[in-house]
């Protein structure tokens, strides 16, 4: 792999931190963000994931503009046609253009995945850091709630509530987010417990900086790598859960479409009309693969030594 170049970047920053930039007069000291970005981009698989994700997102949002059909307006002249120049992904039994439907479903999955990930990671960061920093009864209460939510089978509860959020996207996103932040919150709490004893945190504390401000300025920035990786992983968890719930009719519901509802509808005819299954399923798998590759790449970029035998 690219160990030599990573080593080089690593040493450069380590030295420049102490001795200043004198030794490296011709090159500016790269910021931490740039270093991470470079370490990320030199990994072939991570780069592939990033490019794949960009292509998929572009396809999902630009595709419907170029496409000739709308997902809600069936073409009554062509039922169950195979992919052709007019219907790029073919049509289903009601004449719905599968390209338009797949792109619509993909938009849903992407939006839901991103929103849920941001929501869940923010929740985890705030709750975990608050519990860890303030300790005492705040810690006890918050961690008890975290443990309770871990016992409740989330998939079940979201499904039970499905009659209530009938296609209310906001509520659905909040519910999904509510159930995937707990484990990260516990990790953030553990890290905060050690961070709060550091000199710079104590210094800020004795200078009279308030608790919430210390968490925002000193604790959370130090957990940035963990949180960024967690958010990426959560995108894939959220997309999986959303499509899974929609597959059973507990998530996005007709007349709207999701990749999950499309795959469910194609389930029985997957053998005879394979295009009905292959296009939505293929899009979903590629989307998850792209997000997972990016997550893996970020992990290696933030912590190059992890998972490598020394």
């Amino acid at each position: 792999m690219t160990v030599p170049s990573q080593e080089l970047i690593g040493t450069v920053t380590a030295e420049s931190g102490i001795e200043g930039t004198a030794a490296l007069d011709e090159t500016a000291v790269p910021s931490r963000g740039r270093i991470i970005f470079r370490r990320f981009i030199v990994q072939k698989s991570a780069l592939f994931g990033l490019v794949l994700l960009v292509v998929l997102v572009l396809l999902a949002y630009v595709g419907p503009i170029i496409g000739k059909w709308d997902y809600s307006q069936p073409d009554y002249n062509s039922f169950l046609v195979t992919p052709n120049s007019s219907h790029w992904f073919g049509t289903d039994g009601t004449g719905t253009d599968l390209f338009a439907a797949t792109m619509r479903g993909a938009q849903k999955s992407i939006i839901i995945g991103l929103l849920v990930a941001v929501l869940a990671t923010s929740m985890a960061a705030i709750v975990g850091a608050t519990a860890g920093y303030f300790g005492r009864w705040i810690d006890t209460v918050l961690m008890w709630i975290v443990n309770l939510l871990l016992v409740i089978p989330s998939f079940l509860i979201i499904a039970i509530l499905s009659p209530r959020y009938h296609n209310n996207l906001t509520l659905f996103v909040v519910l999904l987010g509510m159930f995937i932040w707990q484990i990260t919150a516990r990790i953030v709490r553990g890290q905060t417990l050690s961070l709060r004893e550091r000199e710079y945190v104590l210094a800020a504390k004795y200078m009279g900086v308030s608790g919430p401000r210390i968490i925002a300025r000193h604790i959370l920035p130090n957990l940035a790598s963990l949180l960024i990786i967690d958010a990426t992983v959560n995108v894939s968890v959220a997309v999986l859960t959303e499509t899974g719930l929609s597959f059973f009719g507990f998530g996005v519901q007709p007349p709207d479409v999701s990749l999950g509802t499309l795959i469910e509808a194609a389930q029985t005819s997957a053998t005879t009309q394979p295009w009905l299954f292959l296009f939505p399923a293929g899009f979903l798998v590629l989307l998850l693969l792209a997000v997972n590759l990016i997550g893996q790449g970020l992990r290696d970029a933030f912590d190059p030594s992890a998972g490598v035998a020394v």
Binding site: M1, N147, L148, V151, I152, P153, F155, L156, I157, A159, I160, L161, S162, P163, R164, S236, L240, T243, G244, F247, F248, G249, F250, I263, E264, A266, Q267, A270, T271, P274, F277, A281, L284, V285, L288, L289, N292, L293, Q296, A306, G307, V308, A309, V310
Partner: protein, 327 residues
């Protein structure tokens, strides 16, 4: 130590109780069992509807906390309540847990074995072709939702059956009801029906476990005690298996214990797609059918099983990890 365990256990019981109560209240207020009477021809008189719903403690006209009280009272007497159609939740539950157990037993064990073996092998062959192929394969499978894998396998099996010209692989239900004979004479048929769901479960479980096992093994391979084992003259194979793998097994065994203890929870997608009438399928059906008491019972059972699994996990870690065992 004993006091600590008891306190932990009490805390768990309280958690399960609250979780189940929440599930009951949520289900009782958002599901609508009365919908079963809608659109019946001839229409069912409202008084009859109320009578039937009252009998099963499902009437939405009764205040929800009164229904909850009745439900708790029944549970305390070992009665899990009735389905909307009069069936007994307890009887259905035990039958379906057994079906789920049968379905998941082989798949879970195979998934564990394959995952650990593949992970350990990949780590030993670090950065060689085997490692790259196994890791990328596992990564790809992890990016495939279970329902996509299951449907793809069905398509593949249908193609195979058509190519051969006879039904080589059956994938709908637990067994072929048209075949005469008892359990033992049809064991081949039952195994045949197990092939695809087992592969589905195995792939999902193994790919997950493999990545864990690989990174745990990589951490251990560079450690001093493995080098010492080699230095004192052990063969590479012995050093790897007896010293490296044994320690690197701990995280995987923890995960595997969890999966194994929850086999009675069922597998929602696999059961639904392959037509196995286990817990996972039942859960989907009860929510779609607004069957409040069954939904609450499933949540309770799942909660208890998950806690049991976590407890078992702690025990297994204590047994495996010398630091925990001695300390």
């Amino acid at each position: 130590m004993g006091k600590y365990l008891v306190r932990r256990l009490v805390n768990y019981v309280v958690l399960v109780f609250i979780a189940t109560s929440m599930a009951y209240l949520l289900a009782a207020t958002s599901l609508n069992p009365r919908s079963h009477f809608l659109g019946r021809n001839p229409p069912v008189p409202v008084t009859t509807q109320d009578d039937i719903l009252n009998r099963y403690n499902l009437n939405d006209k009764t205040p929800v906390f009164e229904r909850y009280g009745t439900w708790i009272d029944n549970i305390a007497h070992g009665n899990l309540g009735r389905d909307y159609d009069g069936g007994y939740v307890g009887a259905n539950l035990s039958r379906r847990m057994w079906v789920s157990g049968q379905l998941l037993l082989i798949g879970t064990i195979l998934g564990g074995l394959v995952g650990v073996a593949a992970g350990a092998w990949a780590a030993v062959r670090h950065k060689k072709a085997t490692d790259v192929a196994l890791t990328q394969g596992a990564f790809f499978i992890l990016s495939c939702p279970v329902f996509v894998i299951a449907i793809l396998l069905q398509v593949g099996a249908t193609r195979l059956n058509n190519a051969v010209g006879s039904r080589l692989i059956s994938f709908s239900g637990q067994f072929d009801p048209a075949k005469p004979g008892g359990f033992f004479s049809n064991i081949g048929d039952r195994l045949d029906h197990l092939i695809l769901p087992t592969i589905t479960l195995m792939l999902a479980g193994a790919s997950y476990l493999m990545l864990y096992q690989r990174s745990a093994m990589l951490d251990v391979l560079g450690s001093d005690y493995v080098r010492t084992a080699r230095a004192k003259g052990l063969r590479r194979r012995t050093a790897l298996i007896k010293h490296a793998l044994r320690t690197a097994l701990i995280p995987s065994v923890t995960l595997f214990t969890y999966a194994f203890a929850t086999i009675f929870v069922g597998a929602t997608f696999t059961e639904t797609i392959f037509g196995w009438h286990g817990m996972g399928e039942w859960f989907v059906q009860t929510i779609q059918g607004s069957d409040t008491n069954a939904v609450a019972a499933i949540t309770a059972v799942v909660g208890v099983l998950i806690l049991f699994a976590s407890f078992l996990q702690d025990v297994v870690v204590a047994m495996l990890d010398p630091r925990v065992r001695v300390g």
